[in-house]
Each structure stands twice: as structure tokens, then as C-alpha cells.
């Protein structure tokens, strides 16, 4: 198993598309920061004109923390889309190039092979989020400096600079669990459909569907508590004044359970499928 993981990591390290993915993350951040630099101040001023007459805000509201939060919000759609494309490619490229045939004419266990793919997919997701977080903090603080964070969640919530920083950190960490679910799902879609384009289309469709379901208010029903899309927005809970740690931990644990189930299902299907 360790040898298979090492081989997968080596392939990932040597493939140009890994670096394109990390480059795309940086580019996405640069575009956000660039837009904020030219338009952000004006927008914030319009939004806050009334509040600024009644309250004192320390520093500029268009600051590094706000930008780190805006970049964090790519977790809704842009980042999972990018991750799903990259991660599904771990397998679809092997189908396309026929290297799976070369692998399985060797004494290699199918279950262990695909498990190592899932492991590397999750590891890559963690690295990508860590990279996003690191560059988001680095670039945003360098360009815009620090300051209080303003977030609109049902109402406007304000967090002081230091408080905001660690809330953002925990939100990225919680978002990693959500992203791992999407990555594992995309690899499972790849196992089912094998073809690169079909997998991309279905992964994107899955993401769109998830975003649509996110807007549906299931209230306090079981759906609202157990649906993966609702569990996957736990990272947002760090931007309420009182953090409900118990709920966040429970949600992420259930989501990790879903991830394991999707992974198990993928392994089972891959194990019993012919290598065409």
C-alpha cells in the first residue's frame, strides 16, 4: 500500500497539471484581489455609509481579513470545481492512456490501488486548501493590511482583527473536510464513467446540483441536518458570534462518514470491474 501511495504521489509530483491547478488557484486569488483593489473600496463605502455614521471601525474595512474571507468563499463553487477536475484526472488519465492495463498486468491489488488513489486525492485536496489559505493570507495582508472583518450572515457580523484571523483559519480547516468530500465524489464518478469529458460534465453537474440544494430551506427536518450540502457549509458557522463547536464537529464527522461511504462504494465498483 505504501509503495502504491508513493507511486501515486510521484506521478502527481511529475505531472504538469498539478502545477497548472496550483497556478489556477493563485490566478483566482489574484483576480479577486485585483478586483477588490480597483472596485472594493467604493462598494464597501456604499454598503457601510450609514453604519459608519454610528460606529467606529478600526482600520480600513476593505482589508486583508475581508479578502481572505472572500477567497474562502471560493469553497462554494470555484475551488471544488477545480479540485474535482484535477482529482478525477488522477484516474481518467490512466483510463485514457491505457496505463491501467499496464498496471494490472502486474501483481497489483485493485482495491489497494484505488484506495491509494483516494488517499492521494484527499492529500492533494488538503495541500491545495493549505496552499490557498497560505497564499490568501500572504497576498491579502501584504496588499491590504489587517483590520476588522465584516461578514453578512443573516445580519452584519463584525469581528476584531485577531478574532477574525483565527476564525478564518478554522473555517479553512473545516472547508477542507467539505472539499475532501467533493474530491472523493469526483474520483468515484471517474470510476463509474471512465471518460474524462463525461466525468467533468457530471462532476460539474453534481456541484451545480449541490449549490441549488444549498438554497433550499429544509428547516429543522432530518434533511436539513443530514444532507451533505448542509453539512458541507459548516465552515460558515465560524462567522456567527457564538461558535457552535459541537455542531461543527458533528457535521464534519458525519460528512467524513459520507466521504468514507462514497469511497467504499467506489472501491467496490472498481474491484469488480473489468479493465477494458
Amino acid at each position: 500500500m505504501r509503495a502504491l501511495i508513493w507511486a501515486e504521489l510521484y506521478k502527481l509530483y511529475r505531472q504538469p497539471r498539478t502545477y497548472y491547478a496550483l497556478g489556477a488557484i493563485v490566478l483566482m486569488e489574484v483576480v479577486i484581489l485585483f478586483s477588490a483593489y480597483y472596485q472594493g473600496s467604493a462598494l464597501i463605502d456604499v454598503l457601510m455609509s450609514t453604519l459608519k455614521q454610528s460606529f467606529y471601525f478600526k482600520g480600513d474595512l476593505l482589508n486583508g481579513n475581508l479578502l481572505v474571507y472572500v477567497i474562502l468563499n471560493t469553497i462554494w463553487f470555484h475551488l471544488p470545481l477545480l479540485l474535482m477536475i484535477i482529482v478525477s484526472g488522477l484516474l481518467t488519465s490512466e483510463y485514457k492512456d491505457g496505463t491501467l492495463r499496464s498496471i494490472f498486468v502486474q501483481p497489483v491489488s485493485k482495491s489497494k490501488f484505488v484506495l491509494s488513489k483516494y488517499f492521494v486525492a484527499m492529500l492533494f485536496t488538503m495541500v491545495a486548501i493549505f496552499f490557498l489559505m497560505l497564499t490568501a493570507f500572504g497576498l491579502s495582508y501584504t496588499i491590504f493590511g489587517r483590520g476588522d472583518l465584516i461578514v453578512y450572515l443573516d445580519t452584519l457580523n463584525f469581528f476584531e482583527n485577531n478574532d477574525a484571523m483565527w476564525r478564518l483559519f478554522w473555517a479553512y480547516l473545516s472547508g477542507t473536510v467539505t472539499m475532501m468530500f467533493y474530491s472523493v465524489m469526483s474520483l468515484t464518478i471517474a470510476i463509474f464513467f471512465r471518460d474524462t469529458t463525461i466525468t467533468w460534465i457530471l462532476a460539474t453537474f453534481f456541484l451545480i446540483l449541490s449549490n441549488l440544494m444549498l438554497r433550499v430551506d429544509f428547516g429543522t427536518s432530518l434533511w436539513g441536518k443530514l444532507l451533505y450540502v448542509k453539512l458541507g457549509e459548516s465552515w460558515q458557522h465560524f462567522f456567527y458570534y457564538d461558535i457552535n463547536w459541537q455542531e461543527i464537529v458533528l457535521n464534519n464527522t458525519i460528512l467524513l462518514g459520507y466521504t468514507a461511504i462514497v469511497m467504499g462504494f467506489g472501491i467496490l465498483v472498481f474491484k469488480h470491474r473489468d479493465i477494458a
Binding site: 501483481p107 497489483v108 473489468d274 477494458a276
Partner: protein, 285 residues
């Protein structure tokens, strides 16, 4: 027998691709599987290699080695962004067989690849990729090698050197080699035993020599001053360039050649042409 398939059957969507096929290959033997495109050669080989599960029948492997058999299906599938040594390293590591630089160089030399090329294998010619594919297959010393269309896309020099390599593995290392091809001329040159597959069924199987003898009814002769006058006229010679194509049975060819030499001709080459229509006709085995 090192590898044998007994009554192998596979169908896709109700369409039978391989139908009750039995095939065997022993140590030091080169066994050919001859069939047109879509005859079921690749599916049969995929079943032998364990890539595809047969609907019926079984694959028997008589070997105690870690890797009893290996091979290449359709084309050598490699990691194009890695170089030859890195490809070997990856395929060795996933088998838990760490290969040192010396082991890798030894394998590369064995298949006739340079050890100093560091560029990605996507730049390699098809012949070089075939050789690297064989080197990967040879990791862990399998007892049998299954090669599907190994000569496709190769130039004559590439074909010749690959044929030499396969012969060397079978004769010197006593490997069982199974080769599928649609090229009867190529297979007949070096196979010990031949199976002919048509529409998923084995229609003939015998020693290569027997099949060539039974189904050759034409020869392409190349030489100088080839004089087909007199009794040789009955072989209907058709002159082509420096040679001629004649219709004759294998038991008559020696006589024809002797006569041509007696008539003052020089024979440079004599290539038998197998009657494909007859060879691929259904028959009772």
C-alpha cells in the same frame, strides 16, 4: 503448460466476443494467435492476463513465481511525462520490487534501449515504446509473456529487432510467449504453434509448420534470369519487378526452384504466401 485458457467465453451486451476458446502455451515456446481485426484476440489476451473476467471457462497458470505472466495489450501504455528509467521505477515499485539504477540499466540494455536518455517517453518512437513495454513486463521475471499486436506501427528494422528479442526470450530464457497478430507472414516466421481465431472462435490450431504447409499455395520469388518456360508454365507465373509470383504447393516448390536454377536463373528469395481465405474458413477441429 505455463498458461492455458480452458473454454473461455466472453460477451458484451449479448454479443459473444470470445466463444469457448481453449489456448495453451508452454515454456520456451512461441505461440501465435492469428486473427483479423475484431476477431477477439485482445479480449482473449485480456482474460489470460486477468484484466477481464471470463463469463465461462478458466485461466490456469502453472507457476510459483510472484509474477507468473505479464504482457502488453494493444499498445505499450506508459507514463508519457516520465522517462524510461522513471517508468521502470514506478512499475517496479508498485510490485514492491525496488529496482536499483543498475537493475534498471540492465533491463534497458536487455531490451536494447539506451540507458542515457533522460527525456520523457512521449518522445520515443513506437519501436522504443514497445521495447520499454517489454522491459516493464519483464520486471520480476515472469515465466510467460503475452504480446498483443507487438509489431503494429513498427518499421521493418523495428520488426526485425523485436522478433530477435522475442526469440531470444523464448529460446534462451525458456519463456512461454503468446503473440497475437493479424499479420500471418510475420507470425509464420517464428511461431512454433499457431491458433487461428475468427469471430471469437478458434477455427484452426496446429504447429506453424503444418499450417504453413497446408495453406500456402503461392510463392513470391525474387531473383535474376527467372525462366518459366516449358514445364514451369503450368505454375502461372506473374512477373513483378525483379521477381515472379507463382501458384504451387509446398511439396512442389523445391522442384520449381531447382528447375529455375537449372534454367540459368538465380534465386535471391522465396517467400511463401498463405491463402488467407482458406486459412480463415470454418472447419471442424
Amino acid at each position: 503448460m505455463i498458461v492455458s485458457g480452458e473454454g473461455l467465453t466472453k460477451s458484451y451486451g449479448g454479443n459473444i466476443v470470445v466463444n469457448h476458446v481453449t489456448i495453451r502455451c508452454g515454456p520456451g515456446t512461441i505461440t501465435g494467435l492469428l486473427g483479423t481485426n475484431g476477431a477477439g484476440k485482445s479480449t482473449l489476451f485480456k482474460m489470460l492476463l486477468g484484466l477481464v473476467k471470463p463469463d465461462q471457462g478458466r485461466v490456469i497458470i502453472e507457476s510459483t513465481r510472484k509474477k507468473p505472466l505479464s504482457g502488453i495489450i494493444e499498445k505499450p501504455c506508459l507514463y508519457g511525462y516520465l522517462n524510461a528509467a522513471e517508468n521502470l521505477k514506478i512499475f517496479a515499485s508498485i510490485q514492491k520490487t525496488p529496482y536499483s539504477r543498475e537493475n534498471i540499466n540492465h533491463l534497458l540494455k536487455k531490451v536494447g534501449l539506451p540507458t542515457d536518455r533522460k527525456d520523457p517517453v512521449k518522445n520515443f518512437s513506437m519501436g522504443m515504446k514497445q521495447r520499454l513495454g517489454i522491459a516493464i513486463a519483464l520486471i520480476n521475471d515472469p515465466e510467460a509473456l503475452v504480446l498483443d499486436e507487438p509489431f503494429s506501427g513498427l518499421d521493418p528494422i523495428g520488426v526485425n529487432s523485436l522478433r530477435t528479442l522475442i526469440l531470444q526470450m523464448a529460446r534462451e530464457e525458456k519463456m512461454a510467449v503468446l503473440i497475437a497478430s493479424h499479420n500471418v507472414e510475420e507470425l509464420s516466421k517464428f511461431c512454433d504453434f499457431l491458433y487461428v481465431i475468427k469471430d471469437g472462435e478458434i477455427v484452426r490450431s496446429d504447429t506453424a509448420k503444418t499450417l504453413i504447409t497446408q495453406y500456402t499455395d503461392q510463392y513470391l520469388l525474387v531473383g535474376e534470369n527467372l525462366n518459366f518456360s516449358g514445364p514451369l508454365e503450368r505454375f502461372n507465373p506473374v512477373l513483378i519487378g525483379n521477381g515472379a509470383e507463382i501458384r504451387c504447393n509446398p511439396n512442389e516448390i523445391t522442384k520449381v526452384l531447382n528447375q529455375l536454377v537449372a534454367n540459368g536463373g538465380t534465386i535471391i528469395s522465396c517467400v511463401p504466401k498463405i491463402n488467407m481465405n482458406r486459412l480463415f474458413q470454418y472447419s471442424q477441429l
